[in-house]
């Protein structure tokens, strides 16, 4: 990559840190760079907690954030000081050169900048006050300074700023002045860092590249797949899915209802699915727990429904603003009885779009609830995504029975078929059969608790899902890196796959034969593919963000081979360096041998 620059802006709530990150990533995306970004908010709703906006700017889409940033900006030294080591050697630390009041020794960030880092002590507050009459635009001054310092055009920043403050002409005007003041200041500084922006990549033919968050991509996928109804109850970090749909769905003539709780939300979703609508809900772990009973109904009544779940630190209220992958067991197994369902977990924002839309196809094609499992890190992170000119989703994948004329006579809603999927009818369909029961039933949907019937129906409900592994135009799993036998194979799912892929690439650069397997479809489990991958791997590493190693547990239930679990519950994304260290260890590369 000729451009690979990570910028971190650290401030306090109220400093405009997140807004600055937003403008910066919009400007970078407009220039044509690829961006991945993830913001960290304080858990407190009020107060002065720490905010960090991090974005990595590249010319090819990156898979994860880097452990070290090239540029660290402090909008609040008390919060930025613990992060100053995040700036790499010869990287830039941009900070306020002055101070409003007296400071004790060590309270200024300059006391903590390493001799290997390059200090840029800009008069941020003064420029904001001079250009706008207040210190509130310090965040925008900093953006201008970054543009000036790194000799970037100020225009994309101006456009991003104006779109951010659309409809607030006065605010936009003041901030434009702040941006320009920062730009002029940055442009006159002598550069000592070694940070270099290469030319942005050429525009992608056909596809439009947009900068979008994971949750926004899910929404776009749902809309492009033709969602009819959404029922939801707000919960971090899934709320923005509902918020976006609430503003978008009316434009499409479709409906969204905020229900009184998650139980109603899933009930209404399954109800809408029963009528043939493409319906979805969105929640997080605590909400999924409440939905567990209803999901069982969706399974036994074989009704399509889509549940977007964005995980956060748990259990219970847990750590609502921290990321974790600890709802996997519940997503796959949660509920009573044998209640198989499809669980797909995108690994990046583009995947959020695809899974967000494909979930409807699968729900219809296999007549079952489909859980799309995200986590806070994926929901809230931004990436530049090339959207295809035509949405890659089938408008209708229902297998409706043809009940016209005399054909209704032999129709059985729960017929035991070769492919295990029964023909379906929806309410109002002449000659159809409109049963939806939570009781075990026979092919006609009538209550039946005979052991042979329960066995046959249980098998049907499990077996029909297997075809989902080969669902058209859907990547259920994919191998990256070296082909054939490798020293270490890394298997990862969800948001952690980005870090795993990055670590694998670095390991290969160090001469370790290594491959990574991305598993998107976790239920049904791609046993054959995983077993084949593990057969190729001298050692198998499974990094994930939960304490138990939940994915590793599921994996071992399907493939009886040893794996090394790298399970972390820091509330933060997995560190590439940690995965890499584990790969080295498994490959028998001690640091000393490496040096040799």
């Amino acid at each position: 990559m000729s451009t690979d620059i990570q910028i971190a802006i650290v401030g306090s709530a109220g400093d405009g840190t997140i807004a600055a990150g937003d403008i910066l990533r919009r400007a970078m995306a407009e220039m044509g760079y690829r961006v991945i970004s993830f913001d960290v908010y304080p858990p407190e709703i009020r107060g002065f907690g720490k905010c960090i906006a991090r974005l990595r700017v590249t010319d090819e889409q990156a898979y994860s954030l880097k452990p070290q940033s090239d540029v660290l900006v402090s909008l609040d030294d008390s919060h930025a000081i613990p992060h100053v080591n995040e700036a790499r050697e010869w990287g830039a630390v941009i900070y306020e050169g002055g101070s409003v009041g007296p400071l004790a020794e060590g309270a200024h960030i300059s006391a903590h900048i390493d001799p290997g880092q390059i200090p840029y002590n800009a008069p941020i507050r003064e420029l904001s006050e001079k250009s706008t009459g207040s210190a509130r635009s310090r965040n925008v001054v900093v953006l201008g300074y970054i543009a000036g310092l790194f000799r970037l055009s100020v225009d994309p920043f101006l456009r991003a700023l104006n779109s951010k403050f659309k409809g607030k002409a006065d605010v936009a005007k003041k901030n434009e002045a702040a941006l320009r003041a920062g730009f002029e200041e940055g442009a006159r500084w002598f550069r000592l860092d070694d940070i270099a922006f290469g030319p942005p990549p050429a525009k992608n033919g056909g596809a439009t590249v947009e900068m979008i968050s994971g949750n926004a991509a899910v929404v776009r996928g749902a809309l492009d797949a033709g969602i009819d109804n959404f029922f939801g109850y707000p919960i971090t970090p899934a709320t923005s899915i509902m918020e976006r749909l609430a503003s978008e769905m009316p434009k499409h003539g479709t409906r969204l209802v905020q229900t009184e709780d998650e139980i109603s939300a899933i009930g209404a979703t399954i109800g809408a699915g029963f009528t043939g609508a493409r319906a979805a809900t969105a929640t997080s772990g605590p909400g999924l727990a409440l939905m567990a009973e209803m999901l069982g109904l969706g399974v036994i009544a074989e009704i399509p429904s889509v549940v977007y779940v964005s995980q956060r630190g748990g259990p219970s209220t847990g750590m609502p603003t921290k990321t974790e992958q600890s709802d996997l067991n519940m997503a796959v197994h949660g509920g009573h009885g044998d209640a198989p369902r499809i669980v797909i977990a995108p690994t990046n924002v583009e995947g959020c779009y695809r899974c967000g839309g494909k979930a409807f196809e699968m729900a219809e094609a296999y007549q079952t609830p489909v859980i799309v499992l995200l986590d806070l890190y994926l929901s809230n992170r931004y990436e530049t995504v090339p959207f295809p000119a035509q949405p890659p989703f089938e408008a209708d994948t229902n297998r409706y029975a043809d009940t016209r004329g005399g054909k209704a006579a032999g129709f059985k809603r729960y017929a035991l078929t070769e492919g295990h999927v029964s023909p379906r009818s929806i309410p109002g369909q002449a000659g159809g059969m409109h049963v939806a029961t939570g009781l075990e039933h026979n092919e006609l949907g009538r209550p039946n608790d005979q052991s042979a019937m329960h066995t046959a129906m249980s098998r049907k409900r499990h077996e029909k899902l297997k075809a989902a592994l080969k669902h058209p135009d859907f990547t259920a799993y994919k191998r990256f890196g070296d082909e054939g036998p490798v020293e270490v194979g890394v298997i990862a799912w969800g948001s952690t796959f980005g870090e795993a892929l990055e670590a694998m690439i670095l390991a290969r650069e160090e001469g370790i034969r290594c491959a990574a397997l991305k598993v998107v479809m976790i239920s049904p489990f791609p046993t054959e593919a995983v077993a084949a991958f593990m057969a190729d791997s001298g050692a198998t590493l499974v990094p994930e963000l939960n304490y138990q190693g939940q994915f590793a547990g599921i994996l071992q239930a399907h493939v009886a081979r040893p794996v090394t679990r790298l399970a972390r519950v820091t509330g933060e994304p997995m560190e590439v360096g940690e995965i890499l260290a584990e790969i080295r260890r498994l490959a028998g590369r001690t640091p000393a041998r490496q040096a040799a």
Binding site: G97, S99, G101, P102, A107, H108, A111, P115
Partner: protein
Amino acid sequence: MSTVRHHVIIGSGVAGNQAAETLREHDPDSRITMITISRLPFFNRYDLPRVFRGERDWRRFIIYPAAYYRDNRITLRRATRVVNVDSASQILKLEHKESIHFDSLLVASGAGAYLPEELSEFRPLLHGFGAFRDAVTVADALPKGGHAILLGGDTIGLDLARTLLDTGHRVTLVAGPYTFWPHEVTPEERPQYIAALQRMGIVVVEAQSRGGIAAIEPGAKGLSARKLTFEDGSELAGDVVMPFFGIAPSLDFMLGSGVDIERGLLVTPNLRTTNENIYAAGDVCQIWTDKARRYCFYHGWKNVRAMGELAARNITGANEPWVPTQDEALHLTADGKIQSPFWEYQ
């Protein structure tokens, strides 16, 4: 109470860095903080002419890697200006209003280029040569084979002239009383040294012979970037004009400190100022010399480094007097070349 002493050094030049190294050696448990306006870690300023030889990566100039400061527990505070020293309460204030308490303070703030008052109005048109940035800026402004006009001609300037000639540039020296500074050259010796400069390829114009400098202006469009006019109306065109009139100690921040100052900070032979906790070393200080019965400046990087080391030793308990380590006389070699002891590098 903590017995760990906090040694603070203002300046990260030769004197400051040598002092930090010696302090660490002699007081292993102490805290050491070195404060500097510079954004770069320490490099030898006599190396700056290398920029004209195409060396633009400052990392190739620095003497110690970042790890050196970490390993030796030297807190290096760059881009940081001291604005005030309160010697009574042993607190210094930084420009951004941070206060730092010190047990011992070494002032090694060096000196900046001196510019005679009559030329100060032309400052925006002059190219400085004190910092890495200056060197890059002037090198960028000087085209291939371009013409540099050096004013004054102290030994720093003459050293640069040697590199400029070597790299294919033209050099004109507008000579005057500062030529050869800080070497003392008698009126009798002067012609032979001027002739030696001319033999090197430098065009020498005695400012006095043209009545002094009247104006420095931007050159007309399409011509050289600078035009220098003498009082007699004669003109000189060049791409850059650089002043080399010796140096003036950097000690503004010491003005209210209560420590005695003449032109530099006045120190005893063991480099202590009039405050027992404050020492000075390097270009900023004037040392009492019994023989001359006055406070003297001692120039050249070797002297400066020795001062840094001595001050650190004395701060940590020794009581040794300053002995100059360097001969300060200018020489002509057998083949008629100028040789300054300041040009002997490590």
